[in-house]
Symmetry: C2
Subunit: 288 residues, 2 copies
């Protein structure tokens, strides 16, 4: 492939940043990939794996001369790092990210970047359950969905270049407004985390010997990193609140059917969810 | 092993009934195991597998002369079948079951059985996600917990005989009141089903392309059998309602922490659930 970019800088040498570097270099999509890390050991590892051509601990130095900067850190650091590098990027630079929430990030980094540069939000939905450069792999994004979140002010050619990059590493690109992205992910990802954590909280001490595979699987994601999830839930506050409200409303509807011993209504509610889930994962069953 | 029973009748030739027959016969715990089925094909299969010594479609005939009758059907049929056979069991017979809920079953079958016989509730927590005689296996109960739910009126020797049977097939026996059993299982099993189904219900149509492995696992049990779960939720109505109320209260607490942007409180809530879950499944991680 012809390179899409002369120089791409990836800020964050973890799973997503490392995998993106491996994919860009492996597919010849960039002449040079520069990595910015928080610790020298991650930079060294990224260099040894071939995920980057050069690395630095200094973000402002790392982003110089880059046509594209991808902020590939956890959600809580994206805005801070973006604001740090804002005055150091070259004219025409596109800054993007990989964060699980988009509204706040897009708003704040669009405001932070100088005239003649632009921010376009991105969220590759991949690999959220492993972390660190050691888990990085060149095919992480193959078959994954990557959501791009342009706004009315986004330059069409900037969007197309970012789309070409994510398509180039194997992702299926979808475009949503930041607000629509956040509302969808609140229901499809953030709410399930909330529910899993609160199912565990509802258990009482005598319950421990009576937990089966059902609740084990239902609550698996309650073992995820606490800080990461604080960042996600707080940076997507309104959409998460709306999703919890909707969920509570559905719980109340089912609760009412149970309370009034209305078997027909209860069966209709459970059957609708069963059909919906089977449509979402046609190959999976409850035996999986 | 010396047989514990001359004649055990298992009503229901499915996963649990078939596995119990295989385990009793394999370990020599009963001189004869009689199976009662709803369809001849299941009886034939149970005979061919060696799960029973003899089979019949007629429950009242099948339970004659049995020292122990185990009602091994789905929750919705246990009371009906128990009431049908109540007048046909011999003096001294112990009737038991394998239902996932206990209060209503124990109350109604204790009332239905004649003087000189007794009902002792049982719930082996095993194999709930597969069904049918073909999935039966002799080791299904090895390492599983089996809850027995005696009442103040339960004869101690009847309880001990039932305990010996479940211990004999490899289960760890725990004793709880029917009410305590139902309250615990409402939180550890029934509520997770409710939550999984309502997480699916909260998804909206544009969300379908943005579901990852988190929500897939969290909602796995929403694909379970609808009628089975109507039976369970409705026969454990009050405890399920209480569990949903508790869960909603926990959701509200977390929601308030998000709404007020209280990171410290949110982190404390998520960390408590993470620790609790890791204590429940020490070998599992969120990478599992």
């Amino acid at each position: 492939m012809n390179p899409l970019f002369e120089r791409v800088t990836i800020v964050g040498a973890g799973l997503i940043g490392g995998s993106l570097g491996l994919a860009l270099r492996g597919r010849g999509l960039a002449d040079a990939v520069v990595g910015v890390g928080h610790r020298q050991v991650s930079i060294d590892r990224a260099l040894a794996m071939g995920a980057i051509d050069a690395g630095t601990l200094d973000a402002t130095e790392g982003v110089q001369d880059a046509e594209l900067v991808v902020l590939a850190t956890s959600v809580g650091l994206i805005v801070t790092l973006g604001e740090q590098i804002a005055s150091c990027v070259r004219a025409g630079c596109v800054v993007s990210d990989v964060g699980s929430t988009k509204g706040e990030i897009v708003r704040r980094l669009t405001a932070a970047l100088p005239e003649g540069t632009s921010f376009v939000g991105a969220h590759p939905i991949a690999g959220s359950e492993q972390r660190g450069i050691d888990a990085a792999r060149a095919d992480l994004f193959e078959g994954a969905t990557c959501v791009l979140t342009p706004t009315d002010d986004t330059d069409a050619s900037d969007l197309e270049r970012l789309r070409a990059m994510w398509t180039g590493v194997g992702a299926t690109v979808r475009t949503l407004t930041p607000e629509t992205h956040d509302a969808i992910l609140a229901r499809s990802s953030h709410l399930p985390h909330v529910a899993a954590a609160m199912l565990v909280a509802t258990l009482q001490s005598p319950d421990d010997d009576f937990v089966g595979s059902g609740i084990r699987d239902t609550t698996r994601i309650a073992s995820s990193d606490v800080n990461l999830w604080c960042d996600i839930l707080l940076s997507n506050r309104q959409a998460v609140l709306d999703a919890v409200t909707d969920f509570t409303r559905h719980l109340t509807t089912l609760r009412d059917a149970v309370a009034s011993n209305d078997r027909e209504r209860l069966a209709a509610i459970l059957a609708a969810s069963k059909r919906r889930r089977e449509a979402l994962w046609p190959d999976a069953s409850h035996h999986e």
